[in-house]
């Protein structure tokens, strides 16, 4: 298969894999009324320097006293003065995260999971398809690709959210929109009086944009409903299952394939994913994705 398998992170190999590293929140960006991006750095300067990860990998973030939750690293490994993750306020830990301010300390374990297969993507046309907060893992890869622009062919991005207020990373969208080497379409399910862009759900806009499947890979991330409706459209456009990648989300606790709950059949999303091709997903024992 095409995804990179990351062996247990060597440089973070301390005796006890469950002990988090302490990190400080350096900046908080309100993406939407209930989604925030947190910029953070490790307290241990040596670790900050030596920490390495790949686009697509995730971490377990602690709010001490509340608990841990998994989020992908939403910044790019090519931009390393700090790390970023993006969290929607939906549960216990994310509510606590949203109450934290700049300077607050959090815990981080990771990076865990596999990553987007850069070797496989090189020399190809890339079609990024994102919905809502699903742009977070794609964003790590998009910046990664832009920072190594010559290694890749055309870049297209179709990104949508429910309303203009729900669009994440508007500052990135502005930058990418001005980048002549990126072909970007931003859409919303429902516009408002100021919205002059496209209106329509992502799979529909994708069908209209009809990117060529030739020498292309589609990288899809968004709410499960969007993912489920996007694969058939891509198939219709001629994308083979191997040409469609996504990153899956499940409830996770340990992040390292032990606590059990993120399984889809015999697959553990934390350990065997989170990045999967549609070819892999179709071969899953279970359709519980």
């Amino acid at each position: 298969m095409t995804t990179t398998n990351i062996s247990p992170s060597k440089f973070l190999a301390q005796d006890n894999v469950y002990l988090p590293h302490i990190a400080v929140i350096e900046k908080i960006i309100d993406e939407t009324p209930n989604i925030r991006t947190f910029h953070f750095n490790f307290n241990d300067r040596k670790l900050q320097k030596e920490f390495s990860f790949e686009s697509g990998q995730f971490g377990e973030y602690s709010v001490f006293g509340i608990g841990e939750a998994p989020f992908c690293i939403s910044s790019s490994p090519t931009r390393r003065d700090h790390l970023e993750f993006t969290a929607q306020r939906v549960g216990r830990v994310t509510n606590a995260l949203h109450r934290l301010g700049v300077g607050a300390e959090i815990g981080f374990r990771g990076p865990y999971g596999n990553s987007f297969p850069l070797d496989f993507l090189q020399g190809k046309n890339l079609v990024f398809i994102g919905g809502g907060i699903g742009l977070a893992p794609l964003r790590s890869l998009i910046w990664n690709v832009i920072d190594n622009r010559s290694k890749y062919k055309n870049i297209a991005l179709i990104y949508g959210a429910r309303t203009p207020a729900d669009l994440c990373f508007k500052y990135d969208l502005d930058t990418w929109g001005k980048n002549k080497t990126v072909n970007m379409v931003v859409t919303v399910d429902k516009g408002d009086q100021n919205w002059t862009g496209r209106v329509g759900v992502v799979p529909k806009i994708l069908e209209e944009a009809a990117p060529s499947a030739k020498n292309a890979v589609a990288i899809v991330c968004g709410p499960p409903i969007m993912i489920r409706f996007t694969f058939p459209v891509l198939t219709k456009l001629g994308f083979a299952p191997e040409q469609m990648l996504t990153t899956l989300e499940k409830r996770m606790k340990c992040g390292i394939g032990k606590c059990g709950r993120c399984n889809i059949g015999n697959i553990y999303v934390c350990r065997d994913g989170p990045v999967f091709s549609y070819a892999q997903i179709k071969n899953f024992v279970s359709s519980e994705y």
């Binding site: 509340i66 394939g257 032990k258």
Partner: protein
């Protein structure tokens, strides 16, 4: 090393010797529930009533709840420290062959990729002294999983009841060493060994409950999407989780924090795929339906674990049958799996 034997009356002395070096655990009744508990050096009365523990010996390695670390906030920020170590090397006396095999099965998960320091530090320093089962219960079906009730290669020492004495067989290097250091053991003769062999055969034949595990993984995968079948299987399940919490090979856990003022604890506790919250995410739940959870439980043991580790994660110990409040029976489920070939997806 040749086999030894020990008179049942001298087990007390033997355990007392081992107690100098190990934290010795023996079958005990705590609030009426049989479990492996710390032996206080008093008596060996458990030899009279012990069949198997309700709480499997996995609890000695993966406790129902354990502290992972403590954290404290002061002016300099958060400080993390490990909890004090929990009492040194364990010697588990009387573990049954089914439960000893279960430990081998658990090892696979906790050793894979990232090592689990809590489980492995206990496990790697522990000595298992097995005690053959002379009277397997009605719900036991270990022989269908390739386990003999009175024989084991998954322990360090194996004891077999031969009347007034136990035959003591060293299985591992640790077991040999332990015998060499222990006094009060006599050499076993051919007659002792013959009696042990007979006891083992008798015990083996007493296990009458059987299942056919041949091709079970493929059979389960073939009917994985058969909702009607799984709904029938799950009909009486009340999602109480007992069959998983007390299963010697179930290991799923939850991680949570507790905070009192600025001092906190992160702990883990056993969890169960029987509970809807186990997989619940804020926006959706992939196994909200009970039949999907029961399917996951059965298939994890008989399909997913074999796919990942080439071994069925069940030892036929029978606890899930004995202890189920609504008499759900995994052997009935496995016997009723429809035989069909998988058509497409």
């Amino acid at each position: 090393m040749a086999s030894k034997k020990v008179n049942k009356k001298d087990v007390l002395k033997l355990l007392n010797q081992w107690r100098q070096q190990f934290a010795v655990f023996v079958p005990s009744r705590e609030s009426g529930v049989a479990t492996m508990a710390r032996w206080e050096g008093k008596d060996t009365g458990f030899l009279d009533w012990y069949r198997n523990t309700v709480i499997p010996p996995k609890a000695n390695f993966l406790p129902p709840m354990e502290e992972m670390f403590r954290f404290q906030k002061d002016k300099a920020g958060y400080r993390i420290e490990l909890p004090p170590s929990d009492g040194g090397k364990q010697l588990i006396f009387g573990i049954r062959p089914c439960d000893a095999r279960a430990m081998k099965i658990l090892d696979m998960t906790f050793e894979e990729d990232y090592e689990d320091p809590y489980y492995l530090s206990r496990r790697n320093s522990a000595v298992l002294v097995g005690l053959g089962c002379n009277n397997p219960g009605d719900s036991c079906f270990c022989t269908s999983l390739g386990i003999s009730p009175a024989e084991s290669n998954d322990v360090d020492l194996m004891l077999t009841d031969i009347g007034d004495e136990f035959l003591v067989e060293p299985i591992s290097a640790t077991g040999k060493e332990l015998i060499a250091r222990s006094s009060g053991l006599k050499g076993a003769n051919k007659a002792d060994e013959a009696r042990a062999k007979e006891a083992k055969e008798t015990a083996y034949n007493k296990v009458t409950r059987k299942i056919d595990t041949n091709g079970i993984t493929d059979k389960l995968l073939a009917c994985f999407d058969d909702e009607k079948f799984w709904e029938k299987v799950a009909a009486k399940c009340i999602s109480c989780g007992i069959c998983t919490l007390l299963c010697p090979t179930c290991y799923c856990f939850d991680i949570n924090d507790e905070l009192v003022r600025q001092e906190g604890t992160r702990f883990r506790s056993l969890d169960s795929c029987a509970f809807p919250v186990y997989t619940k995410m804020p926006m959706e739940n992939p196994r909200a339906e009970k039949w999907k959870r029961v399917r996951n439980k059965v298939c994890h043991k008989y399909a997913f674990y074999p796919m990942n580790f080439d071994v069925i994660a069940c030892t036929g110990c029978g606890r899930c049958i004995r202890l189920c409040p609504v008499n759900w029976d995994i052997t009935q489920t496995l016997e009723s799996v429809p035989t069909k070939t998988k058509v497409g997806k």
